[in-house]
Each structure stands twice: as structure tokens, then as C-alpha cells.
């Protein structure tokens, strides 16, 4: 598979930031009260992610290692400010409903995580596609959660009435506790599908941490920082 499409697949499925990596939980739980909010938040994050990945990848040889975090933050913050103003100017409705969570994209762990573990070590083009993949994965995750919450909590999807009038919306789903219920159920569902695929012997998408983001992986203590795919290759070679 081409490196660029591989990055997109990685972000969408293998290391989906919402359902697999469990990153960026704060906006995930807070703004997904409706599908449109989920898409809005996801796309804003995607835009910031692509641009910051690109710039950080360009600057990766200039930024000194010891001050890379502040440097990343400055880059991310500039793009967030741009997105913030653009949203305020062109989609004020969405801007109002997302509110504080737009500036908070600065500290979204997905963006800093990708900058740290991918963009600062890889060339520009793959970094851009990594940003697209991760951003789309995040958007898909947020939209899924938003659709389920909006459907159950308000009987609508994208503001259109779906459920019959007699349907009594379960308001709790568009309040904070509902976010936890829906996220947990969706993650359980996708783990179930994965396990099912694994049992049937089909090649299921690998777990997080066995991709290329060793720096941000919680399981690196086990594999010692060697990529699982590399170890397999070595074994095959030997």
C-alpha cells in the first residue's frame, strides 16, 4: 500500500483517535451533543492537524529538541487562532455551539501527539496525509457519537426529525452522562467486531501501539520500542 493512503487508513481505522487511541476525550465527550457539532469539531481539528503537521514537519530539522514542545504549541496555537476567527466569521451558529472548545483544540492531545510522534520525524507529504487520516478518523468518531446521541436524546439527526412524534427523547443522552454511555457502547461494539474478525482468522486491524507511533505508545515497555512489524520481518528473515 502506498505510504500516503496507508497513513489515511491508519488514522481512520487502525489507530482511530477516538475509538482505538482514546485521545482527545475532552472534546469528544463535551461537544458531541449533535451530529453537526461532531462534524464541525472534527473538521476544525482536521484543518488544524493538517496544517500543523505540515509546518512542524517542515521545521523538524530547525526546531531544537529541548524546546520542541513550546515550539509545537506556538505552531498549533497560531492555526487554532486562524480557525477560530474563520469559524466566527463564516459559521457563527456552529461557533456559538462549540464555544470554548475551539480554542481548546490547542491542547488537544491528538494534535500534539501526532506532531511529537509522527510529524517531527517524517517528511512533509506523509505528515500531511497522517494529519488527514487522523483528522478524518477523529471526525468520523465524533460524528458517530453525535449521531447516536442526537438520535436518542432529541430524536433527530442533523437537525431533522427522524423518530416519530410519539418518541419521548431520553434527554440524558445529550447531557454529559450520555456521552460516556454512547462512547463506551461504540468502543465495545468495535472491539467486539475486531475480536470476531480475529477469531475467524481474518487479518483484523492491529491494535494501537503496533503501528509507528512508538513514542506515544503505552505498550512500548513490552516491545522495547521495536515495531511489531519490524520484529515480524526479522523473524521471517531469520
Amino acid at each position: 500500500m502506498n505510504k500516503c493512503t496507508e497513513r489515511i487508513f491508519n488514522g481512520l481505522v487502525k489507530e482511530n483517535p477516538t475509538f482505538v487511541l482514546m485521545l482527545g476525550m475532552c472534546p469528544t465527550l463535551a461537544v458531541t451533543t449533535s451530529a453537526i457539532n461532531g462534524i464541525g469539531m472534527g473538521l476544525s481539528t482536521t484543518a488544524v492537524l493538517i496544517m500543523s503537521n505540515m509546518l512542524i514537519s517542515m521545521l523538524r530539522k530547525i526546531i531544537p529538541d529541548s524546546v520542541r514542545m513550546p515550539a509545537f504549541i506556538v505552531v498549533v496555537a497560531s492555526f487554532v487562532t486562524i480557525v477560530d476567527f474563520l469559524l466566527e466569521g463564516f459559521v457563527p451558529g456552529l461557533y456559538d455551539s462549540l464555544g470554548l472548545y475551539i480554542p481548546l483544540i490547542v491542547v488537544n492531545c491528538i494534535i500534539l501527539g501526532r506532531a511529537e510522534s509522527y510529524a517531527s520525524k517524517n517528511p512533509v507529504l506523509p505528515s500531511v496525509f497522517d494529519g488527514i487520516g487522523m483528522g478524518l478518523g477523529f471526525t468520523v468518531g465524533l460524528t458517530c457519537i453525535g449521531i447516536v446521541r442526537e438520535l436518542i436524546g432529541a430524536g433527530q439527526i442533523f437537525g431533522r426529525q427522524i423518530m416519530p412524534d410519539s418518541y419521548e427523547p431520553l434527554t440524558i443522552f445529550i447531557l454529559a452522562p450520555g456521552a460516556f454511555f454512547v462512547l463506551a457502547c461504540l468502543v465495545a461494539l468495535q472491539n467486539k467486531i475486531k475480536n470476531h474478525l480475529a477469531k475467524k482468522g481474518k487479518k483484523a486491524p492491529q491494535n494501537a501501539g503496533c503501528g509507528e507511533g512508538c513514542a506515544s505508545c503505552a505498550g512500548r515497555g513490552i516491545c522495547g520500542g521495536h515495531l511489531v512489524s519490524d520484529i515480524k520481518k526479522e523473524e521471517e528473515g531469520a
Binding site: E168, L170, T171, I172, L175, P177, F181
Partner: protein
């Protein structure tokens, strides 16, 4: 080895009491309140809600355990107690399917997902009540008595109106199905006390600390009329005697029980006097449930022979 020397791990004291026996006693103790509630709200057909909610609790436990291929524990009656307690905490006019939904939530989400009986970290019936309260705020706070809609006595009390304490004692008032009659609840509670199922520590410290809080912050001083109205109104009695004493979600240490009771008393007073709504018993108990592991850790008894004076 002589077979009289039976080496085994604790517990060494065995008894004939099973979970089912205790739960059966709780069900029996709830009967007066249930019967009174069904009679009291006969015009609202409260019996349908009680039956449906209880049946939904039992059924969902059975179906979940069948689906998950776990041993079916319906016969220990804990699901009956959960369903019945939930029904007693619902307003009589609530649509039956909302009660059923609450029962499914109580059993599947609050109890079974955390590992079944003995593992749930908060009272399933109360968690379900709060779930329904958040979901259907309108229906859950819609109270009717004898065809007349209006606020509960507790809400009237909060608004500064006079209430009839005698009616509140007997139960001829608006409220949820099982909470209105203090007399019926006390009959059940006395039964549980006499059978040794519950002891006085939790309800006692709960009620006493609540009274002290109301006396200090209620703005009426030590006014027996006002305090009685607060004690008899809302779910305080039902909560203190039947839900705060739930074995799973209350501390097992003696000192811990008292701390837990005080915790609930203070929180209930805080919610009732300074909160947005007139009632606060369910939230107070649920929050105290969450504190139980901490309370138990802090009040762990010293094993015999360990530690000592330094």
C-alpha cells in the same frame, strides 16, 4: 489426620441465611408501603407501574445472564427488590414503559455491567431513578393525588407554605408511589430491625444528622412542626430505611456506617435547603455510595494484636 481437624480458609462461622432469605425479608418489609401506595394512588392505576417495573427488573436480569452465559441469579430476589424499590420511587402517573426502561437501566447498566450483585458501586434503584429524572424531568416531577395535580408537600414547604404534617405521616399526599406513608414505611422498617436485617446505625445517624442540619440552617430553629414535615416529606424515610441500608453499597464497619449516615444527612439537608429542587435524598445517597470505599478504608478496624500504642 483426624477428620475433625478440618483445615479451611475463613469464613469459619456458617449460617443458614442466604441472600435470598434476606431479600425476601426486604420484600416483605416493603409490602406495607407498596400496598398503601397502590391503594393511595388507585385512581392513577399505580399497580400497573409497580408490576411492570418489578417484572422488567427480573426479566432483564434473567435475559442478560442468559445472553452472557452466566449463572442465572433471579432466584436470590435481588432483582425483585431493585425493581420494587425503583417503582416505589416513581410518581404514579409515569408511563409504564418509562418504569420498565428504568428497571432495565438499573439491572443491566448499574448492576450487571459492574459484575452483578455485590459488585455494583451505587444503589441500582436510585441510580435508575436519577437516570429517569434526568431523562424525563417533566413526567418525573408530575405529581397527582386524587386527580388533582400540584406540588409535593416538600415543595410547598420549600416555598414557605404551611403543610399538614398529619397527612404526611399517614400518606394522603402527593408524591412517589412508596414514599408518602411514613407509617407504612416504619412498619416495614421495624420488621427489618426486629429480624436483624438492618441495624440502627445508618438510618439513625442519617436522620439525626439531617435533623441537626435542618435545625441549624433551616431558618426555623428547633421547630418540631417544620422538622417533622421535613422528615415525613419526600423520600427521606424510604431512603434512610430501605436504600441507604443496602448491603452492597454501604460500609460494613461500624464506625463507617455512622460516617456514611452523617454524610447522607448533611448532603440531603444541603440539597433540600440550598439546592434547586425540593428533594435531594436520591442524589445524597448515590453520592455517599461513591464515598463508601474511602469511608471503609478510613474506618478499617485494627486487627487484634497488631499495631497498638507506641
Amino acid at each position: 489426620m483426624n477428620e475433625n481437624f478440618n483445615v479451611s480458609s475463613s469464613p469459619h462461622i456458617r449460617d443458614r441465611i442466604r441472600t435470598g432469605n434476606i431479600m425476601l425479608m426486604v420484600v416483605i418489609a416493603l409490602l406495607p408501603a407498596t400496598a398503601f401506595g397502590i391503594w393511595n394512588f388507585r385512581h392513577e392505576d399505580a399497580w400497573i407501574l409497580v408490576v411492570v417495573t418489578t417484572a422488567a427488573a427480573v426479566l432483564s436480569e434473567y435475559i442478560y445472564e442468559k445472553l452472557m452465559k452466566k449463572p442465572v441469579t433471579v432466584s436470590d430476589l435481588s432483582a425483585v427488590v431493585t425493581g420494587l424499590l425503583l417503582a416505589l420511587n416513581l410518581p404514579p402517573t409515569l408511563p409504564w414503559w418509562m418504569g420498565a426502561l428504568g428497571a432495565v437501566f438499573a439491572i443491566v447498566v448499574v448492576k450487571q455491567l459492574f459484575g452483578g450483585l455485590g459488585q455494583n458501586f451505587m444503589n441500582p434503584a436510585l441510580a435508575a431513578r436519577c437516570f429517569l429524572l434526568i431523562c424525563f424531568a417533566g413526567q418525573m416531577t408530575y405529581f397527582v393525588y386524587d386527580g388533582v395535580t400540584g406540588p409535593t408537600p416538600l415543595a410547598e414547604l420549600k416555598a414557605g407554605q404551611a403543610v399538614n404534617t398529619m397527612d404526611m405521616l399517614v400518606g394522603n399526599i402527593r408524591g412517589t408511589i412508596g414514599e408518602t406513608s411514613v407509617i407504612a414505611i416504619m412498619i416495614g422498617a421495624m420488621f427489618l430491625l426486629l429480624m436483624g436485617v438492618i441495624d440502627l446505625k445508618i438510618p439513625g445517624s442519617y436522620i439525626v444528622s439531617f435533623v441537626i442540619f435542618i435545625t441549624i440552617f433551616g431558618g426555623h430553629g428547633f421547630d418540631p412542626q417544620y422538622i417533622t414535615a421535613h422528615l415525613c416529606g419526600g423520600g427521606l424515610m424510604l431512603g434512610a430505611w430501605f436504600m441507604a441500608t443496602d448491603y452492597v453499597t454501604s460500609p460494613i464497619t461500624g464506625g463507617g456506617k455512622i460516617v456514611y449516615g452523617i454524610c447522607m444527612g448533611l448532603l440531603t439537608g444541603l440539597f433540600r435547603l440550598f439546592g434547586g429542587s425540593a428533594e435531594g435524598v436520591s442524589y445524597a445517597i448515590i453520592i455517599s455510595n461513591l464515598l463508601v470505599p474511602l469511608i471503609e478504608k478510613a474506618t478499617l478496624p485494627r486487627p487484634f494484636g497488631k499495631g497498638g500504642e507506641k
